[in-house]
Symmetry: C2
Subunit: 314 residues, 2 copies
């Protein structure tokens, strides 16, 4: 079983309007509300590829109930710790005439020490049955930046490897706790190192990834959009590149990569196969309009076309 931690899930509400009036009254032609946030996207992707997954999350208020009910409706198993605050919403307006969209993202609820302690009890219980854990997404306001580091230490004590997908201080402190894999994107690596990396080439990315390894992460998989993945691990370095340019939804792509890395870790796949699946699933998810969804046909089609190179090898 793969445990997926969702400390700051969201109810993603989308309104489709024929032509948005940003200074007036709009009557959407279609309204969708679905569970979201990076952790839940990872969990939905794992569920869709047939992995045994358990969401471990915090949820509160009516919006938390909406997230819980929505995820249950999708058949994804979950253990929720109820909190007193209100789970956040995101609100997206899709402007069909302009072809664009606007996103409004609420910050998330306060979480009390006692509520985090309750979560810790559920998390420790679940670790017994886990072959891997994914920690993904932002922390709600008020939770300390070493929250993920604490969860990684608990997993290490239980012998369970962790994939960490976070940013900023939560990523830095989490890396220091020794997770099996951290999965930063280029912007996250730039924020950590303070150096511009876009267009800087593979060696610069490898050096930045090396810093996160030096900080404590066992392996660093940098996700570089259309340039694929660059892995720096204790067994060597790899590059995995998709067959063509990746258009579409970068949030969904990053979450799918995290899902595939955890799946490969749980299955004990070697690094080259782990990365091949991660690129294929990320590419298929980028092509889907909704994060956490993808076409199985796309996944199967891209998989054999991913180019995986070992640095310093043939």
């Amino acid at each position: 079983m793969i445990g997926v931690v969702c400390l700051n899930p969201a109810l993603d509400i989308t309104h489709h309007v024929a032509a948005a009036d940003w200074a007036g009254v709009n009557r959407p032609s279609a309204v969708h509300a679905r569970p979201g946030g990076k952790g839940l996207n990872v969990a939905r992707t794992l569920h869709a590829i047939g992995a045994d997954v358990l969401v471990l999350g915090l949820a509160g208020g009516i919006t938390g109930t909406g997230v819980i009910d929505g995820l249950a409706g999708l058949g994804v198993p979950a253990t929720w710790t109820r909190i007193g605050g209100e789970t956040r919403r995101t609100f997206t307006v899709v402007d069909q005439a302009a072809g664009g969209s606007a996103l409004f993202s609420e910050p998330g609820p306060p979480v009390g020490d006692d509520e985090l302690a309750d979560f810790g009890v559920a998390y420790k219980e679940a670790l017994d049955g886990c072959t891997a854990v994914v920690l993904s997404g932002s922390l709600p306001p008020g939770l300390p930046p070493d929250t993920y580091a604490g969860l990684i230490a608990l997993a290490a004590a239980a012998g369970v490897p962790v994939v960490l997908d976070a940013h900023g201080e939560a990523l830095l402190r989490g890396a220091a706790a020794g997770p099996a894999i951290v999965k930063p994107n280029l912007a996250e690596l730039e924020a950590i190192t303070g150096r511009p990396l876009s267009g800087a080439g593979w060696p610069a990315v490898a050096a930045a990834a090396g810093e996160l390894r030096a900080a404590g992460a066992q392996a660093v998989v940098a996700s570089l959009g259309a340039d694929g993945l660059h892995a720096v691990t204790g067994e060597g370095s790899w590059r995995a590149v998709p067959p063509g340019p990746v258009a579409g939804n970068p949030t969904g792509a990053g979450d799918a990569v995290a899902a595939a890395l955890a799946h490969g870790l749980a299955l004990g796949r070697p690094w080259d196969e782990r990365l091949r699946h991660a690129v294929a699933l990320g590419t298929a998810s980028a092509a889907a309009p909704v994060a956490g969804e993808f076409s199985h046909d796309d996944y199967a089609r891209v998989l054999p076309a991913v180019a995986v190179h070992r640095d310093g090898a043939g």
Copy 2:
């Protein structure tokens, strides 16, 4: 007790953003969620002026629970009929840099015949304790346009006078069922009569109101924004004009007028006093940023300054 029917309430969600990016990602600095819809604004106003009020509404899903909890938190008594559909949301983005706002208004849930029948049972029970009933706001999709007419007939059978604030077919069919008062605004009168009325003068408005009386309404109170109210009743016609221009929130103003008219009806106030209170409460509510709220000081200050004229009288 004044019964206030809310067949299509809403959870009004407001995001305040420093400077909206209508093509990108926004992180609101403040988020509010409160029960809304015209009926609930009327009920909150009646509650705030100390009237004994009972909301009779339909609510479903997590958003319905949000409306129920929110109204209970405001101390407004309510009897809810739960439905299978999801109560609607409205979403307002307040753009602090531009000083404007955009509203996205969901259509509301489907309502089944059995659910409307359940509501009818609760409504008939409540009528026994009512001195007046307010029917206000849009009908959710799927409810027939004679829904208000049916509720007016039930009230008439119980000897309870009704204030109807609706538009289009629901207003026309409702008027035919003989409510004590219908309260159209200028746009609603124009839609009913098919004639432009803005700037057309009192005789044209009086003629349009006369058509609604001829259709069956016992009295018609047309709300004309800054020009106040024009009442055409079986006892004569009145004009009631606020002391100065009314700026602000027209939705809140119209709902406050409906609340005051029902309150005056329940108290047996004569028409001139009924209209004086309606204009004062409408003016105070227009000045408040949130529909259903007003300053008691504004209400008390405007009340003696309202000019009430009886047509054809000194």
